[in-house]
């Protein structure tokens, strides 16, 4: 287990700055910091790695979303970082995420003592990252029309759309590939094909579980809670409630805007954690802080942010917060691609081998397991 840790931030004007350290007696010099930075730059990869710098045995962590930050855990001499790899990565993730939103709330000692971690992205968070990456979102739209397309052709199309030279299709499509929405495979010797494996639908659903719980165990809260949710989804006429099925082909559609905003909340780990615990039942700030291991101040701020997006609601006369709407991202099999594949084979846009492989991929992902 680490006996200490420090957080280093790269600044274009001041170089490497130690932003946090524990214990205070930990001494670091410019050369050591430079070596740590150099090793990370040289390796190129992100995540956790082992470094021996001066007399220190370090496990140092970097996060792809925060390239200027390095969290270094001080291990015992000869201690193998792999033994606690998951824990160290989780703590590293927690530290970089928190230091970027509330630097004053980062307490390294507490994090090490209580082993506070941040889990890796959940499935729905991965799907959410698609809609907060504009090029990934337009690529998904294109793939909904094409089903399967040559990577080179897609790359050209995207370059024209975004007017950007030197686009790396794999980089742009990263949220789609990581969430399993797209798959890239080499077909034959020269063709690299991109397949649409899943489609994604966003909507807000009523927080059924939390309402059920409040009806059973919190009757004084339940009435106001149900009234709020009812008003959002089906208010009395002539008001119109929430309707996720209105056409969203207009880029200015409120549904598209809502999907983007809410996806940003889902993709944010602290917002997601809090939203996720409220799916089960209404809770007070202190209860949420206790369950999530997040500082009270942060929980309060996140709840306000979720409230302004109509995701949470503060129940009057109590200290409870509840989920007002449950943001949901569901993936489904894109059945509509079947006639597209058929047409493409007939018109010789794709080979029979590509079509066969596409059907195999769909069966692998969506077929019933024997």
């Amino acid at each position: 287990m680490p006996s200490g840790a420090f957080v280093v931030h790269w600044d274009d004007f001041q170089g490497l700055l130690v932003k946090k350290r524990y214990p205070d007696s930990l001494r670091l010099n410019e050369k050591s910091l430079n070596l740590i930075y150099y090793e990370h730059q040289q390796g190129g990869e992100i995540g956790l790695r082992n470094l021996k710098v001066d007399t220190l045995n370090l496990a140092s962590f970097t996060h792809k979303n925060y390239p200027g930050w390095i969290v270094c855990f001080v291990l015992g001499e000869g201690e193998d970082y792999k033994v606690n790899e998951k824990l160290l990565s989780g703590m590293g993730r927690f530290i970089v995420e928190l230091i970027n939103v509330e630097p004053d709330l980062v307490d390294i000692q507490e994090i090490l003592d209580d082993e506070i971690i941040l889990a890796e992205l959940e499935e729905e968070q991965k799907l959410a990252t698609i809609f907060i990456t504009p090029s990934a979102a337009i690529l998904l739209e294109k793939m909904q029309q094409e089903g399967v397309e040559k990577a080179a052709k897609l790359s050209m199309w995207l370059k024209n759309q975004t007017q950007t030279e030197g686009l790396d299709i794999r980089e742009v499509a990263a949220p789609l590939l990581e969430s399993g929405v797209l798959k890239v495979e080499r077909i034959g010797k020269t063709t690299e094909a991109v397949f649409l494996v899943k489609d994604v639908f966003f909507y807000r659903s009523p927080p059924v579980e939390a309402i059920k719980y409040s009806l059973q165990t919190m009757p004084p809260i339940a009435e106001e809670y149900i009234e709020y949710v009812t008003n959002f989804f089906s208010p009395p006429p002539p008001n119109k409630g929430y309707n996720p099925t209105i056409p969203d082909d207009d880029p200015n559609s409120p549904l598209v805007e809502d999907r983007e905003k809410t996806s940003a909340l889902l993709a944010n780990s602290f917002h997601y954690q809090i939203l996720n615990v409220l799916r089960a039942r209404p809770m007070t700030v202190a209860e949420i802080a206790d369950v999530t291991n997040l500082p009270n101040e942060l929980v309060q701020k996140v709840l306000w942010s979720l409230e302004s997006n109509k995701v949470t609601v503060s129940l009057k006369g109590t200290e409870h917060w509840a989920l007002a709407t449950n943001p949901t991202l569901e993936s489904f099999m894109p059945e509509y691609v079947l006639p597209i594949i058929s047409r493409k084979v007939q018109q010789k846009e794709i080979t029979a081998e590509t079509a066969t492989r596409y059907l195999e991929i769909l069966i692998q992902n969506w077929g019933e397991k024997k």
Binding site: F13, Q14, G15, E30, K31, Y38, Q42
Partner: protein, 286 residues
């Protein structure tokens, strides 16, 4: 650069002033600013920052209840940056010193805050292959005694120039020249306003250093690039003119172990900073 900062009260009285550069006809300027403040008190700027050009300077002003804040800056300065600094100063003053000013007490500690806001930071990167004298150049600029043992730089060594130049803190980045650290160079010269490419004035090293010029021009196209023909005391040294021709950048002679070159080098950096500013795009007129 920000040349001076003034805060005037409701009666157009001078509440605070700080000058960072010598001002010709200072009294006339103050008189002008007092008149300007009287005029501004009669119009509504809706809390916005406005500016006007006066000779080579640009006067930025913002009016808040009871006070008018005025920054005198160079015309070539980035308008948005100066406006940001005006806002920062207004914010700090009203939050921490407004009550002292209104009760006529001395604004203790305000000078430091003004310096923090008005004094800018300029990054000067010193780049070159191993052993050409980059760290010696850094020591020379800092007026330090040379260490007796050569200790190769690891990654980068970042030090401040002891004195301010053109109202800016100069941060010197002495980049490690060993080839294994070359992967860091592009990242480390980011945001540099001036890049000094140091050569040891041998033909072989100067030819190799052409690569560095290309790298700098690609990575920081807005930076001023200057060449240093170091080790001019050695018999094999190419002349600074010849080094400059090969590198195709303005190049100056140096003997980094000779302290008498210090002032000259600082003047070269000062000139590069000023030229860099002058070449910056003119801000849109309002």
């Amino acid at each position: 650069m920000i040349r001076s900062v003034y805060i005037l009260g409701q009666q157009s009285n001078l509440v605070y002033s700080k000058e960072y550069a010598q001002i010709e006809s200072k009294n006339s300027l103050i008189e002008y600013l007092v008149n300007l403040t009287q005029f501004l008190n009669n119009i509504d700027l809706e809390g916005k920052i406005e500016y006007m050009n006066l000779a080579g300077t640009r006067i930025f002003y913002k009016v808040v209840p009871d006070y008018t804040f005025i920054f005198v800056a160079d015309k070539a300065d980035d308008t948005e940056q100066i406006e940001e600094k005006v806002d920062q100063l207004v914010d700090v003053f009203l939050r921490e010193f407004g009550h002292l000013a209104s009760s006529g007490q001395p604004l203790e500690g305000f000078d430091v805050k003004v310096d923090e806001i008005a004094v800018t930071m300029v990054k000067v990167a010193i780049l070159g292959f191993a052993g050409v004298g980059k760290t010696t150049t850094l020591h020379l600029l800092r007026g330090e005694t040379l260490p007796l043992i050569h200790d190769p730089t690891i990654g980068v060594s970042i030090k401040k120039l002891p004195e301010e130049v053109e109202n800016a803190n100069i941060v010197l980045w002495d980049l490690a020249g060993q080839s294994r650290f070359s992967i860091l160079w592009a990242k480390m010269i980011a945001n540099a306003q001036v890049v000094i490419i140091v050569t040891d004035s041998t033909l072989e090293n100067v030819l190799r250093s052409k690569k560095l010029v290309t790298l700098v021009k690609e990575e920081v196209p807005d930076a001023k690039v200057i060449g240093i023909a170091n080790k001019q005391d050695l018999p094999t040294a190419l002349t600074p003119e010849r080094v400059g021709q090969i590198l195709n950048i303005p190049t100056y002679e140096l003997v980094a172990i000779d302290i008498s070159y210090r002032d000259r080098l600082i003047q070269i950096i000062r000139k590069a900073i000023l030229e860099g500013k002058a070449e910056a795009k003119p801000p849109p007129t309002t």
